[in-house]
């Protein structure tokens, strides 16, 4: 259970997903309601509570990895390929002009 971490982090990660008004977002309200519903239990081993913790940890992992993946994509893979003209220009060449088209 300790490996799952605090469910509070899931709620805070929603902040990045929804923006400023994350407390009103349906996801935040749903997670909060689910935790409240499972808070009080007469059982010693509450399977539903453990399942909920696992689900929260999984959702947290999803939100966090999507955010990190997007950041890495933006930094390293966002620009697409260079055109042949740009590639030639990198080493100081120019592509030849062939008025009749390629042979």
């Amino acid at each position: 259970m300790a490996a799952l971490g605090a469910p509070l982090r899931t709620l805070r990660a929603l902040r990045h997903a929804a923006g400023c008004s994350y407390r009103d977002s349906p996801a935040y309200r749903h997670v909060l309601a689910a935790f409240r519903a499972h808070w009080v239990t007469g059982e010693k081993l509450c399977r539903a509570q453990q399942e909920l913790h696992f689900q929260a940890a999984t959702y947290l992992c999803l939100l966090r990895s999507v955010r990190e993946h997007e950041a890495l994509h933006r930094e390293y893979h966002g620009r697409g390929e260079r055109s042949p003209q740009e590639v030639a220009g990198l080493v100081g060449f120019r592509l030849p002009q062939q008025p009749g088209g390629k042979g």
Binding site: A17, A27, A34, A37, E51, T58, Y59, H69, E70, E81
Partner: protein, 281 residues
């Protein structure tokens, strides 16, 4: 995974990318650039309950699948998570980050048109080349690491499902007895079609049936499953160094997809009831 090719709602096509010059393709786009990302065309995302289940509304429009079916999901929690994905798109819609939406689209459209039996067969077939059963003999440090990290998971699976799996260093892989395969086939048959799409997705991502089952049975976390799946890569990274734009990129993408798949399976196969006990006076 199958990418949505056409826009979910009927809207005019986005204008072709105008930046730069180069060989121009049939749509007026450069030949090798990725398709222009769609701008976010909606303000509010909400969910509503229809006849077939829960639907997603982008402003007043109902979300549709790439094959133009109405987007309905059986679980409210799943609908909320999908709505959150759509709502978290900023200026442009990045479909490659919307894993839950893609999984729902795949479950609704079933583009590969596979039956439940075919899905189960594809999933169990992975056991023959399961990552955690495929061991190396050298370098000895890696062989040791595989033994220490993967043996517990294999043992757990054998005990949990009452089967024999074992591991192998031969190129042919482990010899899985037919009774083991039958046990897994009948276990997977207890999941519904949607959950099975999710399970098969997770198996394809992790390259391991055993890791996927231990994840779905909540025996290990997503981070741990991904780590075990990438054990050899992690070993090489520790030896030779980390390359952020490749290693971390793959790691985050694998974590995101695996987490989405696991959440999808759980949300499609759960049903919860809350019983309130009366307080004794």
């Amino acid at each position: 995974l199958w990418w949505p090719h056409s826009p979910p709602t009927r809207l005019p096509r986005p204008p072709p990318a105008a930046a730069g010059s180069g060989p121009v393709g049939p749509c007026g786009r450069r030949a090798y650039t990725p398709p222009a990302e769609r701008k976010r065309f909606y303000q509010n995302v909400s969910i509503s309950q229809g006849e077939g289940g829960f639907e997603i509304n982008l402003d007043h429009r109902k979300l549709k699948t790439p094959q133009a079916k109405l987007f309905t999901v059986p679980s409210e929690a799943l609908a909320i998570a999908v709505a959150t994905e759509w709502d978290s798109q900023k200026d442009t819609i990045k479909f490659y980050t919307m894993h839950l939406t893609t999984l729902c689209n795949t479950a609704l459209d079933n583009p590969t048109q596979r039956s439940k039996t075919q899905l189960i067969r594809a999933a169990v077939k992975f056991l023959e080349t399961d990552t955690v059963c495929y061991r190396v003999e050298e370098p000895p440090a890696l062989a040791e690491l595989q033994k220490n990290e993967w043996d517990p998971v294999v043992t757990w699976a054998e005990k949990r499902y009452n089967v024999t799996i074992g591991s192998s260093t031969s190129i042919l892989g482990p010899n899985i007895p037919a009774s083991t395969k039958e046990t897994f086939v009948s276990h997977l048959a207890s999941y519904n079609m949607w959950a099975l799409q999710g399970i098969e997705f997770v198996i394809t991502q992790l390259k391991s049936l055993i890791l996927s089952m231990s994840l779905i049975d909540r025996h290990i976390t997503v981070e741990k499953a991904v780590l075990l799946s990438r054990l050899e890569e992690e070993y090489q990274i520790r030896r030779w160094g980390n390359v952020e734009w490749a290693h971390d990129y793959d790691l985050c993408e694998l974590r995101a997809r695996t987490a989405a798949g696991t959440l999808f399976v759980h949300l499609c196969s759960e049903s919860s009831t809350v019983k309130h006990k009366l307080l004794q006076d």
